[in-house]
């Protein structure tokens, strides 16, 4: 019997290949659009690359295009978020994988899934209407402004706890029982097994989780748009209002711009900057996993 090529098969295979290629088209699209508009921006003659990366004022209306106020606000909110999420997420992960009884796990895992599934606009609402008044009553209303980076940062932290917890827990669970049992056999306590044996073994996975969570915090938009503030402000004080890169993009594009103005192109430059950062972070996390993962078999 000869193998007759069925035309239907080829067509279907072609369609499936197209589906697979859509993702490449998406990435190409993102890069093309961002780069093209950004070149319009950088090439417009109103600014130079040096000012973009070193300037400390961002006011497009008067020709100031320094990215540092926006970038600093992004860093501060992400830092506060990681400060909240890293210890809590790791502890939850350790608890889940080493200590929790099946009943506790049955409660905790759904709780984490619910926390992960709540839309970010709800976290923004929570930050503005609960965390900010709380901070103001603890620290005083004249120290904590009504829009501030700290409450946005805390809300972002709560938002990414499930991400760190679930990825770390996966990494911890992947460590084979034999390592644990060996340690128990040597007389170690549960804490020592968890902290001195399992965690170091799973370190690559945990590091990857942290990096992915940072990338998520950097890209977070709605929480900062609602609660962090609405004007670029170069400051390290988390209790002041400041606008992050994502918040600025949303505020400006919510107002819709004239389609070929420098303002419009500037948000694409900001988006390109953001894309590069998150892309690099994601690549690093995957590289970390690949290079440092312990192979046990």
């Amino acid at each position: 019997m000869s193998r007759r090529a069925r035309p239907g098969e080829t067509i279907i295979q072609g369609f499936l290949l197209f589906c697979g290629a859509v993702s490449i088209l998406t990435t190409l699209g993102i890069v093309l659009v961002l780069v093209q508009q950004s070149t319009l921006f950088f090439g417009s003659g109103e600014l130079d690359l040096g000012e973009f990366f070193s300037g400390t004022e961002w006011q497009p209306a008067i020709g100031k295009f320094g990215i540092w106020p926006l970038f600093m606000a992004t860093l501060v909110t992400s830092f506060v978020g990681m400060l909240v999420a890293l210890p809590l997420g790791l502890c939850v992960a350790i608890y889940l994988s080493e200590y929790a009884s099946p009943r506790a796990r049955g409660i905790l895992k759904p709780v984490l899934e619910v926390l992960a599934g709540i839309p970010t606009v709800v976290y923004g609402y929570f930050a503005l209407l609960f965390i900010t008044p709380l901070l103001r009553s603890v620290f005083g209303a004249n120290i904590v402004q009504i829009y501030n980076m700290a409450s946005a940062g805390i809300a972002i932290g709560i938002l990414i706890i499930p991400l760190i917890a679930s990825m770390s827990e996966d990494a911890l669970s992947a460590v084979p029982r034999s390592l644990r049992e060996g340690a128990y056999g040597l007389g170690a306590t549960k804490l020592e097994v968890a902290v001195r044996v399992v965690v170091p073994a799973a370190l690559s996975g945990i590091a990857a989780a942290v990096i992915v969570a940072t990338s998520r915090a950097v890209g977070e938009t709605m929480v900062v748009a609602i609660a962090a503030g609405a004007g670029p402000n170069l400051t390290l004080n988390p209790f002041e209002a400041a606008e992050t890169i994502t918040g600025h993009i949303v505020r400006i594009s919510g107002g819709d711009l004239s389609y070929d103005s420098i303002d419009y192109n500037s948000i694409f430059a900001l988006a390109l900057f953001l894309f590069v950062i998150t892309f690099v972070l994601n690549i690093i996390s995957r590289a970390v996993v690949r290079r440092f993962r312990e192979v046990y078999e």
Partner: protein
């Protein structure tokens, strides 16, 4: 011991015997219990954070409100000569219609009369109209649920200080809330336009992203040889899953709203009349296409895992019987993997339901009065409505935002529950 086995200097690995050992052991056990408590505390903090969030929303979505009437019912009663002991509900229909006509604009009366002549309306209907349009209760102050339950006395005292105010318990989530369109008045504002917008956008998103996502997953798992192109596609999908959603919004703005405007505005399909300004690219179709790109990586990854879980023996048996690759996939692999695929898709879709930033960039409308009727309509969605209401400083809009959040959470819960039920039912089936 020879030198090679000697431990590094400075560290003594010999077992500590006797009393030292006992002390050491108890301190180790103590720190172990302390840390166990710390780990437990961390998890409790997470649970508490979630509960606080939910309680805060419930607190804002129900409570007592103090109303003030725009026009006092007593004035109205006097205008038709009724005594002050009666209430509006006691008046006959004709008197109510008279009150209505005398107190609203000619155009409004004409509109209601054209809709359904007053002679044909029942007394209850006219009474409702009079209450809504003439008496016009306006909310003056609101209190949250817990304050209403626990601090009733203080609330009543505050209400007494406001002239002509009445107190009433109000659930901001109500049938009216779900059925009313957007309005600048918090008393009558509802989320209907936003809900319809969300549902329509999600439907179109599903229709677009499901075939493409599953197709890509099938390609990557079943057809792709291990060459550079396919490894690139795989790595690409993984990377795209980590891109912030606002970037997808900007992609959508540049491509779907601007570049493909004839397609997304419906002009290319002749779907619109009404002049060039009525239609632009800020339509449900643009939003759905953008959301599809956003959820595509998630669907692909989940579908890949589901397809990977199909045992090889199934495929090999099918090949052994002479089936082609596509026949194997369609008749054996897919049916086995569909539950997992659907579960993953539903979870991805529920992520799209909550997305706000990309849609703001695309240009969801600030004020829109008519429900979206098709993929070429302008729209607003539930998360965007929540965002707008949260931005308003008046307390009543906070309550409305909380009510809308509850609706959104219920919608998400339904979607996730459907996914979980499906997952459980079919894992059971798999076992049997």
């Amino acid at each position: 011991m020879n030198a090679a086995c000697a431990p590094p200097s400075g560290v003594d690995y010999r077992v500590k015997l006797g009393e030292e050992f006992e002390q050491n052991l108890s301190s180790r056990n103590r720190s172990a219990s302390i840390w166990q408590l710390i780990f437990l505390a961390a998890t409790i903090v997470c649970v508490v954070a979630l509960l606080t969030l939910l309680i805060k929303i419930v607190n804002d979505a129900f409570g007592t409100v103090a109303y003030q009437n725009e026009i006092d019912p007593e004035t109205l009663l006097r205008s038709v000569g009724a005594s002050a002991d009666t209430t509006l509900a006691d008046l006959p229909k004709e008197a109510l219609a008279e009150i209505f006509q005398a107190n609203v604009s000619a155009g409004l009366f004409r509109r209601y009369n054209t809709e359904k002549p007053f002679e044909e309306r029942t007394q209850e209907e006219v009474l409702a109209l009079v209450n809504e349009r003439v008496v016009q209760p306006k909310i003056v102050k609101t209190w949250g649920l817990f304050e209403s339950l626990l601090n009733r006395g203080a609330i009543e005292a505050q209400t007494a200080a406001i002239p002509n105010a009445t107190l009433e318990f109000r659930s901001w989530v109500s049938a009216e809330f779900l059925a009313n369109p957007q309005s600048p008045e918090p008393e009558t504002a509802g989320a209907r336009t936003a809900i319809r917008g969300s549902l329509l956008a999600i439907l179109v998103t599903f229709l677009v992203s499901f075939p493409i996502g599953v197709g890509a997953a099938i390609y990557l798992e079943e057809y792709a040889a291990d060459n550079r192109l396919n490894r690139l596609i795989q790595a690409n999908v993984n990377n795209l899953a980590g891109v912030p959603s606002i970037i997808y919004g900007m992609l959508g703005l540049a491509i779907f709203v601007r570049l493909l405007e004839p397609v997304t505005s419906g002009v290319a399909f002749g779907a619109v009349g009404g002049g060039e300004t009525s239609q632009n690219g800020r339509t449900i179709l643009s939003a759905a296409l953008t959301l599809s790109l956003l959820v595509l990586p998630l669907i692909i990854i989940n579908a890949q895992e589901a397809i990977r879980a199909v045992p090889r023996s199934l495929r090999q048996a099918s090949f052994g019987l002479g089936a082609t690759r596509w026949q194997t996939v369609w008749n054996h692999v897919l049916p086995y993997a569909i539950p997992g695929i659907l579960t993953g898709t539903i979870l991805a879709i529920s992520r799209a339901v909550g997305e706000t930033a990309p849609l703001i960039v695309i240009g969801a409308s600030t004020f829109i009065t008519v429900d979206p009727s098709g993929p070429f309509s302008k729209f607003t969605t539930l998360p965007i409505q929540i965002y707008q209401w949260t931005s308003r400083p008046q307390d009543e809009f906070r309550n409305l935002a909380a009510a809308a959040i509850l609706v959104l959470l219920v919608l998400l819960l339904t979607l996730n529950a459907a996914a979980i039920i499906m997952r459980n039912r079919f894992s059971q089936r798999r076992v049997s």
